[in-house]
């Protein structure tokens, strides 16, 4: 049985391993809860990976996003919470131009991707190029009705990777990163639809990771899954932080509290408040935020 100090030491070394290159003074030998606080403080010094500037969005004549200004820090998990219809999924889908698949949508403002300062929603930017740099995992697991291998390899094939060995290598790497290699390594050529819901979702995550996206978008990734599968994916999300910037939309506030470093609260298409997750859930600045997270919807 682990003592408290055993667990804390394990956490400390794990976090040190994932925080590659981040400096934070971990000079005390006795682990303490302040590790998490230092982690969060150090992360506040992270560079921005993307920033939304004066972003507005319309479905036809209906304005769904109003003047959003939000910085997405690199190598952190940022969560978007808010009631139904607040625009969080709409905002998420601006990042990979999924709205372009529908008619009569309009973007205004910018989402600037660093470091090359591309405006993701600009009319001059090709949506296909955007989607090749920004990956997405959807609410209901949606693997292709192909084998597990082909699912993960599809993104690579689109990018011209066709050599068998290279594909096999990169597929394995992606499946390992998605913490599902051990479960599927003997069934790579079987249909992905034969897996359980949680496994399918991890294969979808592997599929998105295979192409090394710069930002990975999660649209309520566990709302269709049971608690154990949910826990595995939450664990995965916190680990993936070190390799990719993550933006997650979730209905489940406890999930946002568990996995994210920063939480943004949206309401009726506007950004109400954004701050470190620990601050939002213990003492938010805006009453509207507090009312929402404590269940006072009036």
């Amino acid at each position: 049985m682990n003592t408290i100090s055993d667990t804390m030491t394990a956490n400390k070394s794990r976090q040190a391993a994932t925080m590659q290159g981040e400096t934070s003074a971990q000079d005390s030998d006795t682990p303490s809860l302040s590790i998490l606080m230092d982690d969060r403080k150090a992360s506040r010094a992270n560079a921005a990976k993307a920033s939304a500037e004066k972003l507005n969005f319309w479905y036809g004549s209906n304005q769904a996003l109003k003047n959003i200004n939000l910085v997405i820090p690199e190598h952190q998990v940022s969560a978007l919470i808010g009631p139904s219809g607040c625009g969080k999924s709409t905002f998420l889908r601006c990042f990979n131009r999924m709205h372009d698949l529908q008619a009569d949508t309009k973007y205004e403002g910018a989402i600037t991707l660093r470091p090359d300062n591309v405006n993701l929603v600009g009319p001059e930017t090709d949506p296909i190029e955007v989607r090749m740099r920004i990956g997405m995992v959807f609410q209901k697991p949606n693997p292709f009705p192909k084998s597990v291998f082909e699912n993960v390899a599809y993104g690579l094939r689109l990018r011209g990777v066709n050599g068998r060995t290279e594909l096999a290598e990169r597929v394995e790497k992606a499946l390992r990163a998605a913490a599902i290699w051990d479960e599927v390594k003997d069934r790579l050529n079987e249909s992905a639809l034969a897996l359980s819901g949680g496994q399918m979702q991890r294969v979808c995550i592997a599929r998105a990771l295979a192409t090394d996206p710069e930002i990975l978008l999660f649209d309520e990734p566990t709302s269709a899954l049971d608690p154990i599968a949910t826990a595995k994916i939450e664990e995965l999300i916190t680990e993936l932080r070190s390799r990719v910037t993550i933006l997650i939309v979730t209905h489940n506030m406890q999930q946002a509290a568990r996995v994210s470093d920063f939480t943004a609260f949206m309401y009726l298409g506007e950004l109400v408040e954004v701050d470190a997750t620990s601050k939002i859930f213990t003492n938010p600045s805006k009453k509207a935020t507090e009312d929402y997270i404590t269940g006072r919807y009036g």
């Binding site: 990979n96 999924m98 698949l101 008619a103 296909i128 190029e129 989607r131 090749m132 990956g135 997405m136 959807f138 209901k140 949606n142 693997p143 292709f144 009705p145 599809y154 993104g155 689109l158 990018r159 639809l193 979808c204 599929r207 998105a208 192409t211």
Partner: protein, 310 residues
Amino acid sequence: MAATAHLTLEEIRKGLSWRKQLDKAFTVLGLALLFCCLGILAILFFDLVRDGSSRFGWDFFTSFPSRKAENAGILSAAVGTMLIMVVTALVALPLGVAAAIYLEEYAPKNWFTGIIEINVTNLAGVPSIIYGLLALGLFVYQFNFGQSVLTAGLTLALLILPIVIVATRESLRAVPKAIREAAYGLGATRWEVTKDHVLPYSTGGILTGLILGLSRAIGETAPIITIGALSFIAFLPPSPVTGEFPFLNFEWLMSEFTAMPIQMFNWVSRPDQAFQANAAAAGAILLGMTLAMNAVAIWIRYRFRKKISW
């Protein structure tokens, strides 16, 4: 016990028995109607078979039409029908699938495409003789294809095009949006999404649609009469496969032809009673071919549905 809002068990049972009776009555009615229709079809079929029973045999299949009923066979008609079906399929499939893909995946949803869609569906209801007249003017005279297998194939292709388009569109629509989103999310272009994901999973529905279309085309008489199918053909179109290079020739396309419905019509209208048997036999065979094609369509749909479950 005091009166309560909910029903007691006796009250529930009393009301339920009437509803159950209605339920049973509808089931019985439905079954009765079904057996009626199937019964009529079965009676027709057996009637044909019985009338034509004297003619069934290898000779019937391998003989050309002749003045004498006993010697008359359906060789040229059967071959003609099959060749026409080949041309029809080869023309209708790519055209229909491409049109459906365009309408479903590419076309913007505006008033213009709306009009196109309405017209496609309406075309299915156009009387087939109109297609014959169109073909006569366009293919036979304008393009100078003559009264040939090619003309017949093109005409029937046009006839079944709406069926193929509609069936294809339905299959394309059946592919869940989630699959498309996943593919787009990985950076696929619209064509890649269609080619790699939508089309492969729609194949079952598309083939089913095609075969259903063909099984309709196989029995169409009016258009091919209009374009001038002859009824007494004592020869076969030239074989498409020859012994010398380039091993394929297309002369058969331009050859004159006959088809099963024509042959039947011709025999039925003869005063000689003996030919009725021939007509009946040919009819039974035609009906059998149609049923067989439908069965193949159903089997294909079943096989494809088993492989892919969303």
